[in-house]
Symmetry: C2
Subunit: 243 residues, 2 copies
């Protein structure tokens, strides 16, 4: 599995992805799940993926190769909506190709989060389903998760609002990943994080966090001890005495 | 869905279950998931269930009806291991009966947590799978969850150890349920909690918590504000400035 999350907030976009892939428990490998398509000053598009590794790699390879040729591609489309549509079409293309005529129990499906900003638009964020259709985030629902998303959802539900500061949001994502990594073997470090500030059109620079990352270790430790303190301060109810 | 969890700790057993069942989103109902089989002074057996409601109700009805007749039943077996085996056999019996000869897409499966103490044994806790086989908790793995378990797992992973005090453990379960209820519509109040102190063989008295429960409201509020405080106290890394 994989865990990826992306947020579209008042001040910009925040992304995070892990890098673990597994086929069963004995074929575990490290692959990046974050892919950038950008022209600084003009457009910044970030793709996060989960699901079948062969499918997602093919989708990204095709999207990347096509930017070198004529026709519609991620570096010439004029809206993020079109970017999401293009990703969805490419997912369908690869799944159809790889499934072929054979009936199979293998799940070729994958999901993509597509976020970014193209000059002339506000930042936008889309969740592209395995079927190739997609939904867009909103001020009410400012974040999407794909992959092994349940473990890390409660802390996002508690903390993330459209108005949340980007740095707070990134810290929250790190905590969400920490919770997921602790509870599920199939999600693992290194992870990558990325922030994009609205209207900056700056060069995208992912930040990689591995096991040795001092800040992440500190954050994990502070969060764990902070939780224990909150926990210890919670009141007992009267009915605790009855047992 | 459903969410149930049970803990087998140094001082005794702790149980919690929600009461929401749903078939799709438009047929939501309230059913208890906690079932007691007890003879104060002699045995205390608690069943928690998740999965197909028809199957679980039939399993519990049969287990209950059979205590009134001769033959092996939950009020005369001599170990918790036999209780788990009996539950597993009854699950298989009902699933086989209801599945019949017809191939069907309906999932008749269900899971049970079976915990308690029978005089002559230590308290024990089993997780009975839909196939009727089962595993037992240990000092390394002192808790089991069934149903919609992922949302509430991180906090249990962080807090629960075999040595954890029963009241702390119950508070942790309440937080785990709060997180799940916030993140997933298919889990809902009222919930039931139960503690059983080792060697007490006291009458089991579940405690019901509904929306109006003052203590649970207070706990949810204190936990949410405590988390926000811990969150606000987390340090920013230097690389937060680069975006």
């Amino acid at each position: 599995m994989t865990y990826c999350a992306a947020l579209n907030l008042k001040d910009g976009l925040v992304f995070a992805s892990d890098s673990r892939t597994n086929a069963g428990v004995d074929h575990i490998a490290t692959f990046r799940k974050m892919h950038l398509f950008q022209q600084p000053g003009e457009r910044a598009i970030v793709l996060l993926n989960s699901g079948n590794l062969a499918t997602t790699q093919s989708v990204v390879s095709l999207l990347r190769a096509r930017t070198l040729h004529d026709g519609e591609h991620l570096l010439n489309i004029s809206s993020l909506y079109d970017a999401a549509r293009l990703v969805g079409e490419t997912v369908r293309e690869v799944v159809d190709r790889d499934t072929g005529q054979q009936a199979s129990n293998i799940d070729f499906g994958c999901s993509f989060l597509v976020g970014g900003q193209i000059r002339g638009e506000q930042p936008r964020l889309f969740n592209v389903y395995p079927q190739g259709n997609f939904i867009e985030s909103s001020t009410d629902t400012p974040f999407f998760q794909i992959g092994e998303s349940k473990y890390g959802k409660p802390i996002l539900d508690r903390v993330i609002r459209y108005e949340t500061d980007m740095n707070e949001a990134l810290k929250c994502l790190l905590i969400s990943f920490d919770s997921t990594i602790r509870s599920n073997l199939s999600v693992g470090l290194p992870m990558e994080t990325l922030r994009y500030r609205i209207d900056s059109f700056a060069e995208l620079r992912p930040h990689r966090i591995d096991e040795g990352d001092e800040y992440f270790q500190q954050l994990r430790g502070r969060w764990a001890s902070g939780l224990r303190q909150v926990f210890a301060s919670l009141p007992d109810p009267e009915w605790f005495d009855e047992a």
